[in-house]
């Protein structure tokens, strides 16, 4: 083995275990995809920065921020909704919906998320825009970076760019924290230098990650760090719209005047505008985030050459294969283009997998909506003492102890009576230091917008019919006797 290794080492250049980064200098581009991307970008950034400032009146003494994850008090406010930590399954449901939605969108139109909506893409795009405004376009930047020595102008531009990046990153980190505390209060505290060290830490953390990921790491996040490109291919089928180079009309590449060559003149405009530095003409690949900028770049070239646009376009793999087959052996030119486009088929929006995604979205969304609509203001959780399983009393009775947690999401404390169903007559309920009503039921107070914890002792007369008796503990309105909440459990005793 050692010999073999030496043998190869002598033959081949020494192996390196790291890859120097190939810097990407994306070029500015104009066109319909770019316009759409600007629209999406400003919309998403606007949402992100402004949403914490949206107000929502919830009554006196309640937070009036429309979107607020109140860590301190353990509440999630989402417009008119209020989610308790116990109901984290709504958040889970939201994530499930997001995942299925992502699968469905990917199946329909490829990596739309990556290309248009992913925060990494949006902020990188923003940072690149700032970079172009300050440092100039692709060629100017490449020239500057190749210089052995920077002039003062170069240094000023570099410094200005980084200051601008850090400021944007700071605004980003600051806005993130505002989703977790009251935004106006936080801004006032920051201005006065009174913000907590936790707040400052998280602002610093998100400032640093924004600056590093959007300014420096950029496409490396997509190609090295992100798991999604690794398995998104499984979500695609031959009817998904993906950014495609129509090789059937483009190849073989050649000079514009070469009659035998296809439409691609090998100008590399598509490569130069690519934010991840890939060549779309190599086909579907991990590095392609489906941003569609190469479409704009190629369309502009085709327009100058007076050729039909769409050499690179959102198209399906099925169409590519059909066009390839239809144009095989044809001379390139108008007839070939016509033949390739003629065999196109519109993607079927009722593919089984899309129907399944839609069904899953409906089921999960329906379950969440139903759960929200049927939510009760008071909920009871009950835990039976396990040590001891039961206590035998001197008169022969059996006692079980339960810990009750009464969640009351109303904003005024209420008094409730506790009743138990399923145990023989003569069963007594008691809660330490609680009064009882005329029927001997303990009266307990809930805690407004909070959880009250209490221990309930249930004493049943012996003998019990079984070692384990199902029991239902009910919380009742003491005046009307109406049931407010209930919990099921068992009452344990000795083997009869």
């Amino acid at each position: 083995m050692g010999q073999q290794q030496q043998h190869h080492a002598a033959e081949e250049p020494p192996a390196t275990f790291y890859a120097p980064r190939v810097r990407v200098y994306p070029q500015a581009v104009k066109g319909k995809v770019r316009r759409l991307r600007w629209g999406v970008l400003w919309l998403l950034l606007g949402l992100y920065y402004l949403a914490p400032w949206l107000r929502w009146d919830r009554g006196p003494g309640r937070p009036d921020q429309a979107f607020l994850a109140d860590m301190e008090h353990g509440r999630l406010f989402f417009l008119g909704l209020e989610i308790w930590p116990q109901e984290v399954y709504y958040v889970t449901g939201l994530l499930v919906l997001a995942a299925i939605g992502l699968f469905a969108v990917t199946c329909l139109a490829g990596r739309l998320w990556c290309g248009f909506a992913c925060p990494q893409t949006v902020w990188t795009d923003l940072f690149m825009w700032v970079e172009r405004r300050i440092e100039g376009d692709r060629n100017a930047r490449m020239r500057r970076d190749r210089k052995p020595r920077w002039s003062w102008d170069d240094r000023l531009r570099k410094a200005t760019k980084h200051v601008a990046w850090v400021l944007i990153a700071l605004a980003t980190g600051g806005a993130w924290v505002m989703y977790f505390t009251d935004a106006p209060t936080l801004l006032r505290d920051l201005a006065r230098g009174e913000a907590s060290s936790t707040t400052l830490f998280f602002i610093g953390l998100f400032t640093a990650t924004t600056y590093l990921l959007a300014g420096w790491a950029r496409e490396q996040v997509c190609t090295y760090m992100c798991p999604w490109p690794r398995f998104q291919a499984a979500m695609l089928d031959e009817q998904s719209l993906v950014v495609s180079y129509r090789a059937w009309r483009g190849e073989p590449r050649g000079k514009p005047r070469d009659a035998a060559a296809g439409d691609c003149v090998d100008c590399a405009a598509c490569v130069h505008v690519c934010p991840t530095g890939v060549d779309i003409r190599d086909g579907q690949q991990l590095g392609c985030i489906s941003c569609g900028l190469c479409i704009d770049a190629c369309d502009a070239v085709m327009q100058r050459l007076d050729r039909p646009q769409g050499l690179i376009a959102f198209d399906t793999l099925g169409n590519l294969a059909r066009a390839e087959a239809a144009t095989a052996g044809m001379p390139r030119g108008a007839a070939c283009r016509g033949a390739g486009l003629a065999v196109r088929q519109a993607p079927n929006p009722f593919r089984p997998r899309l129907l399944l995604y839609a069904a899953a979205l409906l089921v999960v969304g329906g379950a969440m909506l139903g759960g929200l609509l049927l939510r009760e203001p008071v909920a009871l959780d009950m835990l039976r003492d396990r040590a001891p399983l039961f206590v035998r009393l001197s008169h022969g009775g059996i006692r079980n102890a339960y810990t009750l947690k009464i969640r009351d999401r109303r904003h005024e404390a209420a008094q409730l009576a506790i009743a138990a169903d399923g145990l023989p007559p003569g069963t007594q309920l008691s809660v330490s230091d609680a009064e009882t009503d005329a029927a001997g039921r303990p009266l307990v107070a809930t805690r407004a917008d909070d959880v009250a914890t209490l221990r309930l002792l249930v004493t049943a007369p012996a003998p019990l019919p079984a070692a384990s008796t199902p029991v239902v503990i009910r919380l009742l309105d003491p005046r009307s006797g109406a049931e407010v909440a209930r919990a099921e459990n068992v009452f344990l005793g000795p083997q009869p």
Binding site: M1, Q4, Q5, H8, A9, E12, P14, A15, T16, F17, Y18, A19, P20, R21, V22, Q220, T223, Y224, R230, V271, C274, T276, G277, V278, D279, I280, D282, Q284, Q285, L286, G287, C288, D385, R386, A387, P388, L389, V391, R392, L393, S394, H395, G396, R399, A401, S430, S432, D433, R455, L457, A462
Partner: protein, 293 residues
């Protein structure tokens, strides 16, 4: 395509071309290199660890506290001291109060319950069980029978001075005779009195023997355990007419108790625990539901 790490970059190596030079049985190892920055971050973490281990060491048993004089041990000692200092004002209040007064104050009661739960787990649960359920020979603290009184003050006294604790003169002390071992009763009498004891809780197997045992009981046992076997908390004599049996309620266990006596021991906790802790324990026992107050 994922094996070419700069996707589509000009001059990117195609699959299989870029190998490390290792070859085993004709299988060559593809070079999938790391990004440079990633590699240096990895080296930086190693360098960081070397500095960190000098500043904040975690070597076991050396007693060396690092260049900054801090380790996880000193940190936890500081935190414990800080916790104690923080709780001290409340603990000082508890020391001057009766358990009943603590229970009447909801805030102090919650504090005492939390502290009592921990203290019970640390000191009491070994014998009395995690939930105070007891075990043969170790009384249940969750039921409603108390050998030495179930009022809060009685329980506090029992904890402070223990049961038959040899080093405490105020300890709960009694001594049941070893009726058979010391020849005070014959085997037959012991058998009869055991039958009578069982009959006190309605479980007589042999009515004739129980009838004979009644006389033996009145003469030897009733002074402490009461005419009806109702027990006497003043003397720590357990009730014999109920469903609770510290050493088991079958006839063999009763015969053994009469013959050889029983004498469980609990240490006096006044010398081991903070008075505040003892009060918190009483509050915790109250919450178990068996106290008679």
């Amino acid at each position: 395509m994922s094996t070419t790490h700069k996707p589509g970059a000009h001059g990117a190596q195609k699959d299989g071309d870029n190998t490390t030079g290792h070859e085993w049985d004709g299988i060559r190892e593809l070079n999938t290199p790391l990004p440079t920055w990633w590699l240096y971050v990895f080296y930086a973490t190693i360098a960081f660890a070397l500095v960190w281990v000098l500043l904040y060491p975690a070597f076991p048993g050396t007693g060396w506290n690092g260049l900054l004089g801090r380790t996880a041990r000193t940190d936890i000692a500081e935190q414990l001291a800080a916790d104690r200092a923080q709780n001290e004002p409340v603990l000082a209040r508890l020391r001057g109060m009766t358990p009943a007064a603590i229970i009447a104050d909801p805030e102090l009661r919650d504090f005492a319950l939390a502290g009592g739960r921990v203290a019970f787990g640390n000191n009491c649960a070994g014998c009395h069980g995690a939930g105070g359920q007891g075990a043969p020979g170790f009384p249940s603290l969750a039921d409603d029978e108390w050998l030495w009184g179930g009022k809060l003050a009685d329980i506090q006294h029992s904890i402070e001075h223990g049961i038959r604790a040899p080093d405490d003169e105020n300890t709960r002390m009694n001594q049941m005779p070893r009726f058979l071992a010391d020849g005070m009763l014959t085997q037959a009498q012991v058998n009869d009195v055991a039958e009578h004891v069982l009959s006190l809780s309605g479980r007589a197997g042999n009515a004739v023997a129980a009838g004979r045992g009644a006389a033996v009981f009145a003469e030897n046992c009733a002074a402490c355990h009461g005419e009806q076997g109702q027990g006497n908390q003043e003397m720590g004599a357990p009730a014999l007419n109920d469903a609770i049996w510290l050493y088991g309620g079958d006839k063999a266990a009763v015969v053994r108790s009469v013959s050889f006596s029983r004498a469980g021991v609990m240490p006096a906790w006044a010398t081991r625990l903070d008075p505040a802790t003892i009060r918190m324990l009483v509050v915790y026992l109250h919450a178990l539901g068996g106290t008679q107050e």
